[in-house]
Subunit: 203 residues, 2 copies
């Protein structure tokens, strides 16, 4: 197994530090009951005007939904996602429910929040989540008869962590690679954009 716990500059909750996005998944299945905890977490996510613009389609390895979601993935993601016991489509309602005919400009932002909530719960249950932009959203809309006011935005693999050695040789280095992020001083400002707060020590 690859331990990729975040090397944080400031302490954060262990559920957040331990979360990362592997490509190697174990063969063990995920119980539907456990998945309900993840969706319940997404359900209680906040959203603009409480529009709750998130929907999910779930497939378990071996069923036709899993096969169909898999068929929408780009080739690179097919190299590894076949082993994931659960595949999801995360779908945004891009039209406002409260103002029909108008766009909900917060739809994607709020879908991202809901998926993050689902991801915390997954991490709390020992599961790992890998989100993918690399899939054919239009093909997914066709296969699952997604209405026009919705947009399939990400595909998501979920399962228990597997042995990196089982991965395609092209993928192994990524599974062991050090995780990296911009410094806090590059993302946190005060007074004006780009100005590091005086109380933030240089890192």
């Amino acid at each position: 197994m690859s331990d990729k716990t975040a090397q944080t500059t400031h302490s954060i909750h262990p559920i957040l530090a331990g979360r990362w996005s592997p490509r190697a998944f174990a063969a063990a299945g995920v119980e539907p009951e456990k998945m309900l905890h993840l969706f319940e977490s997404a359900r209680w996510s906040p959203s603009a005007s409480n529009e709750q613009p998130w929907r999910f389609i779930i497939g378990f390895k071996g069923d036709s939904t899993h096969e169909k979601i898999f068929s929408t993935l780009v080739e690179f993601n097919r190299l590894w996602a076949h082993a994931a016991p659960v595949l999801l489509l995360a779908i945004a309602k891009t039209e406002s429910t409260k103002n029909p005919g108008k766009e909900n400009p917060y739809a994607l932002y709020d879908l991202g929040q809901a998926v993050a909530h689902l991801g915390f719960q997954a991490a709390a249950e020992g599961l790992f989540v890998h989100q993918m932009g690399g899939f054919d959203s239009e093909k997914a809309a066709e296969l699952f008869v997604v209405p026009a006011e919705f947009r399939a935005f990400t595909a998501i693999a979920i399962g228990y962590q597997g042995d990196p050695e089982m991965l395609h040789p092209n993928l192994k280095p990524m599974e062991y690679a050090k995780r990296n992020r911009q410094a806090l001083s590059e993302m946190l400002f005060s007074e004006k954009f780009g100005q590091t707060p005086s109380w933030l020590q240089q890192e």
Copy 2:
């Protein structure tokens, strides 16, 4: 105090169940060191191609950044957000860093995820977060000299929970109101969009 712990159908982590978006904030300040835990959590959020398209501007009550962020809020939010010890702007980098000149279509989705991570850490530390779409993004861009490839997307109030009785009379009912969400059967499908999975009991 108003206890609005989510009445969940399926069990979820107490940090997620206890999180909600109050308008009443206590006068107690939030230590900058504690805020660093929140930003460190956002920092380790996942993003498409690891673009990390999130930036934050932070103001503490009494400083000029807090005043400027407050001045961008719509009137309704000014009724309560003045009491929040911390105000943030959450900013998305909408242009791709890896492909300059091209849009990053995941910018808002990933910003939403980063804010959710920040909110999870806040809840773990006993803090509450209230996100607002109701602010003038263009005015914020002007006041903080935000470059064109970035977009101020939400304003965020953070602090300890206050007494709902201190709120403007128009706001009190919302602070005590029951929280509501769509049922799982309305957001979770299999086989095709809108079809409740057979293993999901009707609620």
